[in-house]
């Protein structure tokens, strides 16, 4: 079975600084996707970034980038120039590719605080 592990229950960063959230996963599949979702206090799950396993290039979305290490099954999220609005729960997630039903498997989450 696939699993997703986030070893940092809480992280803190100073505004304008950079922070990295860790995620490891386990799978025997070769075709899959990895995600970072953000959940602010409003409860709305927001997709931050997506990485296709077959792509070697790390995904980037503005201030958000990932370090995807496929052999090590590691998928960390880097937030640059942190802003107060980045404060939220961040969930790492996995989805099988191909013709799978497509549900997500989530890690336990990391609560990110941003200090002014």
């Amino acid at each position: 079975a696939q699993t997703v592990t986030q070893s940092q229950p809480e992280m803190s960063v100073q505004e304008a600084e950079t922070v990295t959230l860790s995620c490891t996963y386990d799978t025997s599949e070769s075709d899959y996707y990895l995600f970072w979702y953000k959940q602010p206090p409003s409860r709305q799950m927001i997709l931050v970034i997506r990485q296709e396993a077959y792509k070697q290039q790390n995904a980037t979305e503005n201030r958000f980038s990932v370090n995807f290490q496929k052999a090590a099954k590691s998928f960390s999220l880097k937030i640059s120039d942190s802003q107060l609005g980045d404060a939220a729960m961040y969930f790492c997630a996995y989805r099988k590719g191909g013709g799978s039903q497509g549900n997500l498997i989530f890690g336990k989450g990391t609560k990110l605080s941003v200090k002014p």
Partner: protein, 117 residues
């Protein structure tokens, strides 16, 4: 990406009663899912809502407790039956299509915060 409307956004219910949560998507989607998020925890998949057939439940979740309907490609309901305080959670509806691009990845409703007293 599509927008999901989920209601109610919150409810306080008496134990032993049932609550039906509705999920409406503003465009046709391939898949719809129901997740539970217990207080301070991550999201756990309850079931995949299949259009026109019975939902596919994950281990630990059964149809009698969580009946699900999906009459068409844009709408689904989840009922939490015979509630107990242990059912107090956030319930989230999610949907996605199979078009392969980022915009069609799983998107979520705002969730229903259920408190059972």
């Amino acid at each position: 990406s599509a927008v999901i409307s989920q209601k109610p956004s919150r409810d306080i219910c008496q134990r032993g009663t049932s609550l039906t949560i509705q999920c409406q998507v503003d465009s046709q989607v391939t898949m719809m899912f129901w997740y539970r998020q217990q207080p301070g925890q991550s999201l756990t998949l309850i079931a995949t809502a299949n259009q026109g057939s019975e939902a596919t439940y994950e281990s630990g979740f059964v149809i009698d407790k969580f009946p699900i309907s999906r009459p068409n490609l844009t709408f689904s309901t989840l009922t939490v039956s015979n509630m107990s305080p242990e059912d107090s959670s956030i319930y989230l509806c999610s949907a996605r299509t199979n078009r392969g691009n980022r915009e069609n990845e799983a998107f979520f409703g705002q969730g229903t915060r259920l408190t059972v007293v």
